[in-house]
């Protein structure tokens, strides 16, 4: 008999009709999702920059590129990054846009100063970015460069992981990653060090999109 059958048979003999408890629903309510997100990510040594619009968000990116002195930047080909011509806007940097720029992505990521990505969602409670793999969306862009900048729309904020799993449906992409801060370790004498393997800096540029969140809408209704 194969190990598979042996293991499964042994377990089947011990099976009992025990049912899972009812699903645990989110018990979080944050008056201000952006404030909680900022607080949590900052506590984990991440950085958050607020922008009133996508246009202001590009200005923040501009400031970060100059601050870092970026020479090589790699970007995922996804919203909102694919809305503008990155290389035309920042001609002083060498750009690699995933699935667009020819050349070896891995080699470019390994020497890039900054990785630029969007997010699928963000969790306020834990200050987490939800990042998927997929067409135009590389795993290495958010991992190899020492600085990761993520553009996060305020409308993408969810209260917590329970809301995220409740909203989740269908097949998973090959890689989903919840990023809740810059890479860190305390393995040497319990002293915190950033940037062990992944990015040393994680900067979320949190921008308003003009879409109003349900809770915010409700708030405005009650104050009327």
């Amino acid at each position: 008999m194969s190990s598979r059958d042996e293991i499964l048979n042994r377990l089947r003999r011990q099976a009992r009709p025990e049912t899972l408890p009812p699903v645990w629903r989110s018990q979080r309510e944050f008056a201000d999702l952006a404030a909680r997100f900022t607080e949590s990510l900052t506590a984990a040594k991440g950085e958050v920059r607020r922008a009133e619009s996508l246009e202001r968000a590009w200005a923040e990116v501009d400031a970060i590129l100059r601050e870092v002195g970026a020479q090589a930047v790699v970007a995922n080909n996804e919203p909102p990054l694919n809305a503008i011509a990155l290389a035309a806007r920042w001609p002083d940097c060498e750009w690699h846009v995933v699935d667009q720029t020819p050349g070896d992505l891995r080699q470019f990521c390994a020497r890039a100063d900054i990785g630029l990505s969007g997010v699928e969602a963000a969790l306020a409670e834990t200050g987490s970015l939800v990042v998927h793999s997929g067409p135009g969306k590389s795993r290495m862009v958010t991992l190899l460069p020492p600085v990761h900048i993520a553009l996060v729309p305020v409308s993408g904020l969810m209260p917590d992981i329970f809301i995220w799993t409740a909203a989740r449906a269908g097949k998973m992409p090959a890689n989903v990653i919840l990023i809740s801060g810059p890479s860190k370790s305390a393995d040497i004498e319990m002293t915190l060090v950033l940037g062990v393997h992944g990015p040393r800096r994680l900067i979320a540029v949190l921008y308003d999109t003009g879409e109003m969140r349900d809770s915010r809408v409700a708030e405005l209704r009650t104050t009327d």
Partner: protein
């Protein structure tokens, strides 16, 4: 490896005499506990959430075959290859075979207790595959030729000077111990090169989510992301008990895991891995294997020890354990140390070989109090002690002594006679109420035992000495 009473005592003594290690253990465990308590206090209804999680873990184990088959079906449909390993040898053979098929010479490894358990690195080395640990702590421990001493902080026992020496040797130039950032940067450089050249990435898995056939892996450093994303082949080894039926259960699991471990709301990176890279993904592994490891686990389902399979390896019980905090991880002689290790090790590797571990506890119950799945470790430690007596595992001297004591305690007259005799016999050895027996007669070397009181409880009661004096 074995852990007899003498071995445990000897290894613990080494740790207890190491003042620097004692300080490191105190600092690390205190920090972890404080952070854990703060994080759970911040969570709404954390205690109900833990009750809920226990119910989830119990119900999942009750239908484990069903959930494992669901996991397998969904993982395969996402393109992963699922293997079943009855024991450690079979698991190692599976991984070695995958490495051989791809001509792998260098493999990078993420933190994994399961691979420690099955001695995968040794098996790979024999097959000519170099397996490099990439968790910073594990990497340092590997460079030193040692084993991890804490589930979460494997190099807790190393000083920065020792770390600097190890990394200097590896880098081929002297590095200063003063600058931790520079030391870490050097480790980053060394391991980055390995990541980019390895033919295979090996990881453990924190959760196998049946609903989508996904393996969830949490790390803080990002090494887990590297080993699962950069090499062309990824192999995950995961115990069969680590299944969550759906994402609803996985969310509860994740809500408790990092909080219990180090007080983080979530680990820095929670990777959810579902099959190999899709055709239109720009990167990711071309081949993904999941090895489901039994190695004694399925034998525990349905027994009085099933509860131990609810463990999610957060390490919280180590940090609160008064024995672990003094004796350190190496005393246990197993990759699983602390209270969970004291229960799990004898169950997986044999009570005969690890006779001392069920006794490496004061039964204070602190481990049960902090456990995210509320596992009743003290109960199982007692069950194991009972098994040692019924299975004749205890050394005869200990067994005879305890049998004798039980006989005396059952017979009142004999008890009175014996205690009177002992009070008489102890006289030359008692000074300031402390019993000082000469070397070989001393049952508790290194600890002071008080002498028997001058009068027995019965005598004092009769003489009215026990009246309330308040």
């Amino acid at each position: 490896m074995t852990t007899t009473f003498a071995q445990f005592r000897q290894r613990a003594n080494v740790a207890i005499k190491d003042i620097r290690l004692q300080k490191a253990l105190d600092t690390a465990t205190d920090n972890f506990i404080r952070a854990r308590n703060r994080a759970l206090a911040e969570l709404p209804n954390a205690d109900s959430l833990r009750d809920h999680f226990k119910a989830i873990r119990s119900a999942t184990l009750g239908q484990l075959a069903h959930h494992l088959e669901t996991f397998e079906r969904n993982a395969v449909s996402a393109g992963a290859q699922v293997h079943w390993a009855g024991d450690g040898t079979e698991a190692c053979e599976i991984v070695v075979e995958i490495a051989r098929r791809h001509g792998v010479k260098l493999a990078t490894k993420g933190k994994s207790m399961a691979t420690e358990e099955i001695h995968l690195n040794e098996a790979l080395a024999e097959a000519g595959v170099e397996a490099v640990e990439t968790d910073l702590g594990d990497f340092l421990v590997q460079l030193a030729g040692e084993t991890p001493s804490h589930i979460i902080a494997p190099a807790i026992h190393k000083t920065r000077e020792q770390v600097a020496a190890l990394l200097s040797r590896e880098a081929g130039r002297p590095l200063s111990a003063d600058d931790l950032s520079a030391l870490t940067a050097e480790a980053r450089r060394i391991l980055r090169e390995r990541f980019l050249t390895a033919g295979m990435g090996i990881s453990g898995g924190n959760i196998a989510v049946a609903e989508t056939g996904s393996v969830v892996l949490v790390t803080n450093e990002g090494n887990g992301r590297f080993v699962t994303s950069v090499p062309p082949v990824h192999v995950a080894i995961i115990g069969i008990e680590k299944v969550a039926p759906t994402w609803d259960e996985a969310a509860v699991w994740l809500s408790l895991l990092a909080r219990s471990t180090a007080g983080q709301p979530l680990s820095i990176y929670t990777s959810i891995l579902t099959g190999p890279a899709r055709a239109d993904d720009p990167d990711g592994p071309e081949e993904v294997h999941v090895v489901l490891l039994d190695n004694g686990r399925s034998q525990l389902v349905g027994t009085k020890y099933e509860e131990v399979l609810q463990c999610i390896r957060c390490g919280a019980c180590l940090n609160v354990c008064p024995v672990y905090r003094e004796a350190g991880g190496h005393a246990y002689g197993s990759p699983y140390c602390g209270p969970i290790g004291a229960v799990l090790t004898p169950l997986l590797f044999g009570l005969e070989d690890y006779e001392a571990l069920p006794h490496a506890s004061s039964l204070c119950g602190a481990c049960k109090d902090v456990c995210p799945a509320r596992i009743d470790l003290p109960r199982m430690l007692l069950e194991l002690r009972t098994d040692e007596v019924t299975e004749g595992v205890l050394p005869w001297r200990e067994r005879k002594t305890e049998e004798g004591a039980a006989f005396v305690l059952r017979h009142q007259k004999l008890m009175r006679f014996v205690s009177a005799a002992v009070r008489l016999a102890q006289r030359p050895f008692v000074r300031d109420d402390v019993l000082n027996l000469p070397g070989p007669l001393n049952p508790t070397p290194g600890r002071q035992l008080p002498g028997l009181a001058k009068h027995s409880f019965r005598e004092m009661w009769k003489a009215g000495e026990l009246e309330d004096k308040g």
